[in-house]
Symmetry: C2
Subunit: 114 residues, 2 copies
């Protein structure tokens, strides 16, 4: 995984911080992959970063052009079903935060870095 | 690690997404621990979440009361020195994003969850 390449602010971020249960790792993995694929296909999607530690704690940050794009993603029928299963089966706990990215800078990699 | 317990929005988040070099793991760990301890002592600090995968990619999100609190943290002398070493030694690449948290919700754990 690499940091997402995003445009100049302002844009939006969804920070999803979660603790996995030990249940249904295969079902979780398949759905997580499918949700990434689906998010990438949504209008206004800018990028995603995701990492989970061995202790089950993980952070996924997705980046979006607008709050409307986030609302459309959160209401997508297939995503709603995944959210339902997440609460029922896969997550012991989570916090979801919708943010407006105000400023950003980076170091390394992108060849066009000033 | 657990999701941070934060107050009702608005508040601020710093999303730090990074790729570690393979260099100086002990120096990195000691400084990372010290920076967490120092951040926790800063006025306006609300919480922190951090996870790094086996591939070297990691996300740390710190939460703050205000943009001023973030600016004070970013300018702290000991933190500036850690930032310098980070670019020189520990990070192959990073992206840092300062955001305003607009809305938030959670699931599980905190006993007082509605």
């Amino acid at each position: 995984m690499e940091p997402a390449q995003t445009p100049s602010p302002p844009y939006y971020a969804v920070i999803f911080s979660s603790v996995r249960t030990a249940d249904d790792p295969d079902g979780y993995e398949a759905t997580a992959q499918r949700m990434l694929e689906l998010a990438r296909s949504m209008p206004g999607f800018l990028g995603v970063e995701s990492v989970r530690g061995a202790d089950g704690f993980g952070i996924t940050v997705s980046y979006w052009r607008s709050e409307e794009a986030i609302a459309d993603w959160q209401r997508h029928a297939e995503h709603l079903e995944a959210q339902r299963l997440g609460r029922q089966r896969w997550y012991e706990r989570f916090e979801l935060r919708v943010c407006r990215v105000e400023r950003a800078y980076g170091f390394g990699a992108p060849a066009d870095r000033p």
